[in-house]
Symmetry: C2
Subunit: 379 residues, 2 copies
């Protein structure tokens, strides 16, 4: 079963089409995050208008609430939520390790306490495949262990071994092969040797695509790219390559430059809710007092509903006044910016001008008026 | 200057057209509340789609933040906010008395402390006319004193006298007569004698329309309608009649039945944010566990985006999961319900069937499945 068709290659960058049960997705693609089956402060209709073709949801969250069995009975997450685009679910590895109050990793799976009600759960690779099948994700992810930064070599080595054993069990556990795609995840912390080993093991298994996980967990940016460079060349050309949890606009460019096809990140939506808005001249924080009587749009020439309709002064007023509408309008702008960025990236690749686009973007974006810092990575 | 044209009369109920600087508004009209220059959890585009032609905003809030001078420089609230429908501003009487931390009523005006930053302000009738002119409201309201329930006869009598003196000063203070309409407000607490006296005094002044204020402040419903009945017959047929801060769907029907043309209330939007949704069979709270796996829409046959797209089960999941999108989707439904209700009321009046509509509505609505109480009036 083919999962990706590559149409253009420009350096290491590539553009093409991801084949899913809910549409053919142009790549490179950015997936907004809809953790609980909804992209925060967005309606599905709005997402469609913005050009979103695929979202990421979290099997861990949906398992806890409303429950994957309920979702299955309601027609899977597509039927339950009414979202008819593609859905990829993260298996919950990252969430269990970042949100679980109590967690104990055993050979068989992971014991943890719900962040919602403190209830105890034991999740195994097999269980998380079943959960994702119940959810009906177009693409499911293996349950993996996501190690923190820093971690010792020894701990990371054992974790890589466990993640490989779990990956094999995930493959075995599939009951609906042919309908739902399953991706393996390369781990290995920040040890090139372990990244190579994880890549070698995971890539030897018959997954429909491959992800690089465990990045952007507090490490310096250069180290993150070292890890991608370490395994990038090993990833097969005929399968999708997915960089999990990334990133800022400049990260998307760096990833695409290294041949990555898929990205997801909470950044555009979470930043929007903090008043941090993306423009081609860098990021601005709309709360800044300098926008108090600024009659211009967030970005001159931007075609999103927010920029077509509202001034920076009004948007600032909404943030300062704690108005809910502010979340919607800011999210519209940031998601639109990300969708435009991906479209321009795809066009640049197909016209063989990605390298020029990359440099032009960085020069303008980094030389721009950014007046705030990333609340996740401080970058 | 004509402010309303009455096209149909059916009993005491009437339908027609309110003439404003931003469109001709079909009456009876319900105005969603946009306290700070935005209807909570709504975009202007969404409001337009829902058929909203006029909103209420608060001069008190906008004076404090972002400031009426800023709004004036930005083209008034229409230019500043981008809302191109009609706007009525409440002068702030109710807000000063309900939100002001410290307040002292003097002959000249009212001293109070901002609920935002504790700063002290002295507002006079003249000042609030200037503020509303800066805001550029299509319809401005007089500064009045809104007495609480219960209040002594003596206190209420003095308050009525003050409100009349302030009303005269508001009329005098107008600098842009002909552009902005100004409405007088009948007060008088819950003493028929004082309501009559206030009506006599206020109605003798040359306002463009008249409001009944100081209702729904904790009194029994029957007392509220007694007050409306007391003054209703005195209100001139050729000018708009506005019942401030009202109400639930059944209240709109009762008001229309008594010849009221205009209403505003936070109920549809605030209730939506609490998960309380209106249907023709009564009100439901979408948080209720009985909707956990309910695949039906909020209301069968409803044409709003929310009902066309989402199940009760999914909407419940969004509320329970504290998702921002829930506020948006629920508000869409409730505002749509109110707009539909007003449309049906207008149609019933124009076809001379209001009385039948009134009874049919009440029978179905009150016999329905309501499972929650009004969080404002407990009704």
């Amino acid at each position: 079963m083919k999962t990706i068709e590559i149409d253009h290659i420009d350096g290491a960058a590539r553009s093409g089409r991801l084949i899913t049960g809910h549409g053919t997705i142009e790549t490179p693609v950015f997936m907004p995050v809809g953790t609980q089956g909804v992209v925060k402060a967005m309606t599905h209709g709005q997402l469609k208008e913005l050009g979103v073709t695929m979202i990421l949801s979290n099997a861990y969250h949906l398992y806890l609430r409303p429950g994957d069995e309920l979702i299955r009975r309601m027609g899977g997450l597509h039927g339950f939520s009414g979202w008819d685009g593609a859905i990829l679910t993260d298996s919950g590895g990252y969430q269990i390790f970042s949100l679980g109050v109590l967690r104990e990793i055993k050979e068989d799976g992971v014991l943890f306490q719900s962040h919602i009600d403190g209830s105890r759960h034991f999740l195994t690779p097999e269980k998380m495949i079943r959960v994702q099948e119940n959810i009906g994700a177009d693409i499911a992810m293996c349950l993996d262990e996501c190690v923190s930064y820093p971690s010792t070599f020894e701990y990371t080595r054992e974790s890589v071994e466990l993640t490989t054993r779990w990956a094999r069990r995930c493959l075995e556990a599939r009951s609906e092969e042919g309908r739902q795609r399953l991706f393996g995840i390369i781990q290995g912390g920040f040890y090139p040797e372990l990244r190579l080993r994880s890549a070698e093991e995971i890539l030897s298994l018959d997954f429909d695509g491959f992800a690089i996980g465990g990045l952007s967990v507090g490490e310096p940016k250069s180290l993150m790219w070292d890890m991608v460079d370490t395994v990038g060349d090993l990833m097969p050309a005929g399968k999708p390559r997915y960089m999990m949890g990334i990133g800022l606009p400049e990260d998307l460019l760096e990833g695409v430059k290294r041949g990555i096809d898929m990205f997801d990140c909470i950044i555009p939506t979470r930043f929007a809710r903090n008043g941090s808005l993306f423009t081609w001249d860098g990021r601005i924080n709309i709360k800044n007092a300098r926008f108090t009587d600024d009659e211009g749009p967030v970005e001159e020439g931007c075609s999103c509903y927010t920029c077509r309709t509202f001034s920076r002064a009004y948007l600032r007023h909404l943030v300062v006044s704690h108005e809910l509408t502010s979340f919607y309008l800011n999210t519209i702008h940031n998601v639109y910016f990300y969708m435009e960025l991906m479209k321009k990236i795809r066009n640049a690749i197909s016209s063989g001008t990605f390298d020029r686009f990359y440099h032009d973007f960085k020069r303008r974006y980094e030389g721009g008026e950014s007046d705030d810092r990333c609340s996740v990575c401080n970058g």
